[in-house]
């Protein structure tokens, strides 16, 4: 493996490349805005006042540091030491706010009076609406119409926070199409608008910026596990849609080559069914939403229709850095089905009293597949990326609990 010699901090390169992935594949109109964002971010990184402001809000508004919780009864079940990084305890109920907060502070620095965002499960939309309310900035959120139904609670939350939610009916009416529509809005209103992308996807510098703002998860988790166990974990497990919670917890462990990084994609109704969204497991290289990465596509290079029970994972692309980490062999990408995820969700609820999001449930469900390799000395960290309230109607329907 060549990875041990690689300087991760150097990636992406100046063109926004992670190996052959990443880059900027967008209409020309947006290039100056991406340059402006790159410069504003570089300036913010050098400004101690920016980091202080971010840290203060992360502590007092978001509620960081989040706990690294030893899941005792789950550990008994699997015969290993399992820790949960409790991002579900963040304000708004998921890790998404770490990035939304960082980006709104950048938008303020750039003097942009209007914010737009795309959202799938609604967690990024809620996080963006929340920080916009907090800082008094106008906010519009694009959301696939199908997702507005399956995540109705989050639509109501965004509206209550003062954001305008715009249902998107084009294409498959899910996250992919909401992202198309947000990019179209940005192309049109680029002069006064900042687009807060919610995952480690999109044109450079977004995959880098979102990764950096989410890396607080991994930095905390690494320090916490060293304090509790006096050693690094054997594996870190996270679900991967676009891949922001996974990148956030993986990145600070990249140089710790003894730590296995495992990203869990959504296999939907099964990889053989074609109804899934597992580009890293079953896709091929392609270009969508501004960057080159793995992509679900048909034989003619048209983007494929995806399916997952989890709206937040229902996306045909994935962040370019994940594509690079897969090819480099630094992370392993696997998948679990809708029904396996539902079992994982129930197991965590029954054993730990934690109802996680359907996205997170994919990471939990992978424990079942790891079971044969686990020993009492195995230490695992699962990124508990979000809470499950938003998914209750889907879960009730799927499990016939009503």
């Amino acid at each position: 493996m060549t990875i041990a010699n690689t300087e991760y901090a150097a990636l992406p390169d100046a063109r926004g490349r992670f190996g052959v992935y990443g880059g900027r594949f967008v209409p020309e109109t947006l290039i100056p805005a991406l340059d402006e964002l790159t410069q504003a971010y570089a300036a913010a990184q050098k400004d101690p006042a920016f980091q202080q402001e971010l840290d203060a809000h992360l502590q007092d508004y978001v509620g960081r540091a989040t706990p690294l919780y030893f899941a005792e009864r789950l550990s008994e079940e699997y015969g290993a030491k399992i820790y949960l990084k409790r991002e579900d305890l963040c304000h708004t109920g998921a890790h998404k706010i770490n990035n939304a907060l960082g980006q709104i502070l950048l938008a303020k620095r750039m003097g942009k009076p209007r914010i737009i965002a795309e959202t799938g499960a609604g967690q990024h939309g809620v996080a963006t609406a929340t920080v916009c309310a907090r800082f008094g900035i106008e906010c519009e959120v694009y959301m696939g119409e199908e997702d507005t139904h399956r995540q109705a609670l989050n639509v109501a939350r965004m509206k209550l926070l003062g954001a305008k939610v715009i249902p998107v009916t084009s294409g498959t009416a899910t996250l992919k199409d909401a992202t198309n529509e947000a990019i179209r809005d940005w192309v049109t209103n680029v002069r006064n608008t900042h687009y807060i992308i919610g995952s480690v996807v999109g044109p450079h510098p977004y995959p880098m910026i979102v990764r950096d703002f989410q890396s607080v998860i991994g930095r905390e988790a690494r320090a916490q596990i060293l304090q509790k166990e006096n050693r690094l974990p054997d594996a870190v497990i996270a679900c991967v849609g676009g891949g922001s919670n996974a990148m956030g917890i993986f990145h600070p462990f990249l140089h710790d080559t003894t730590v296995n990084l495992i990203g869990v994609e959504a296999a939907g109704e099964g990889l053989d069914s074609g109804k899934h969204c597992a580009p890293l497991t079953a896709g091929a290289m392609g270009v969508l939403h501004g960057s080159a990465s793995y992509l679900m596509q048909d034989t003619d290079g048209q983007v494929a229709i995806t399916h997952s029970i989890s709206a937040g994972l229902d996306y045909p692309g994935v962040g370019p850095e994940h594509a690079w980490m897969k090819d480099a062999g630094r992370a392993k990408y696997v998948s679990v089905t809708d029904s396996e995820a539902l079992e994982g969700l129930q197991k965590l609820a029954h054993r730990e009293g934690i109802i996680c999001a359907l996205e997170t449930a994919h990471a939990v469900a992978y424990l079942e597949k790891m079971r044969p390799q686990l020993t009492p000395n195995t230490i695992l960290i699962i990124n508990c990326s979000g809470r499950g309230d938003k998914d209750m109607s889907t879960v009730v329907r799927s499990l016939e609990l009503a």
Binding site: R15, F25, A33, V187
Partner: protein, 265 residues
């Protein structure tokens, strides 16, 4: 010299501006596209952009999105569009034709294989909407080898530095987007447009064509006063869709395009 450059030279000598027309290949059908492009040429179109549909056209407004979707539902693929182009080329040997698409379909086909296929089918060059010069190194090299023009885009937001990069790399013509935004019919011509075009023309002798939001002869006339050509897309796509079952479709399209062409003279 490319067919496109030669044609612009001829127009310049005649003190005339270019009318560039966009249609989506396969909407309403493959056969209709062949007949429609022939009609565009007869009505005076100087160049035709032949849209290869993509599932996620993020620079396009609702009309061309819907048109792309219809074309995909009609079974359009990269090789099928090239077959349409081949048939068009037999009927209109001299018309400059440039496929217009997004990067993923041609990248997925294989850039070198695709460029070869396109050249063989009779293409003169390409517009790849989401491919900017920074990402186009390989594509530029392949296009040059095949003798295909590469038309890159500029926008009202483009800085001086970008104008230099884009005009240097473009061949055939430079495509200037009339406003920040996606394709679609608009009522007005932006007041800043004249300055945007002048600024580009100060940088290059290559022809500069303006597109996005242009639908009426009066728009064409106003823009032709300072640009080398105008691109009309959405309104034509809308007209074709509206009249698709009308036996007079070709005649209606002819009249519309002839009225636009008259405004370039």
């Amino acid at each position: 010299m490319s067919r496109l450059s030669e044609h612009f030279n001829t127009l310049r000598a005649r003190n005339e501006k270019a009318l560039v027309c966009f249609v989506t290949a396969g909407d309403p059908s493959a056969e209709a596209t062949v007949a429609l492009v022939e009609t565009l040429a007869k009505a005076g179109a100087d160049c035709v952009e032949l849209g290869i549909p993509f599932s996620d056209p993020l620079a396009d407004g609702p009309s061309i999105q819907a048109s792309s979707q219809r074309a995909l539902e009609n079974g359009m693929t990269v090789p099928k569009v090239m077959e349409i182009l081949r048939q068009i080329r037999e009927r209109v040997p001299d018309l400059p034709i440039i496929p217009m698409t997004y990067y993923n379909p041609i990248r997925h086909y294989g850039l070198a294989q695709y460029a070869h296929l396109a050249k063989e089918a009779g293409a003169d060059g390409h517009i790849v909407t989401d491919l900017t010069p920074e990402e186009a190194e390989e594509w530029k090299q392949i296009s040059t080898q095949e003798g295909l023009d590469t038309i890159f885009l500029l926008a009202p937001t483009s800085t001086q530095e970008r104008i230099e990069i884009v005009t240097a790399l473009s061949t055939g013509f430079v495509y200037c987007v009339s406003r920040t935004g996606v394709t679609g019919v608009r009522d007005d011509v932006p007041t800043e447009l004249k300055d945007v075009v002048s600024n580009i023309k100060a940088q290059t002798d290559k022809p500069v064509c303006v597109g996005f939001g242009i639908s009426r002869p009066e728009h064409v006339e106003r823009i032709a006063a300072f640009a080398d050509g105008v691109v009309v897309g959405t309104s034509l796509v809308n007209l074709i869709h509206k009249e698709r079952d009308n036996p007079e479709l070709l005649e209606i399209v002819y009249q519309y395009v002839a009225s636009l062409k008259a405004a370039t003279k």
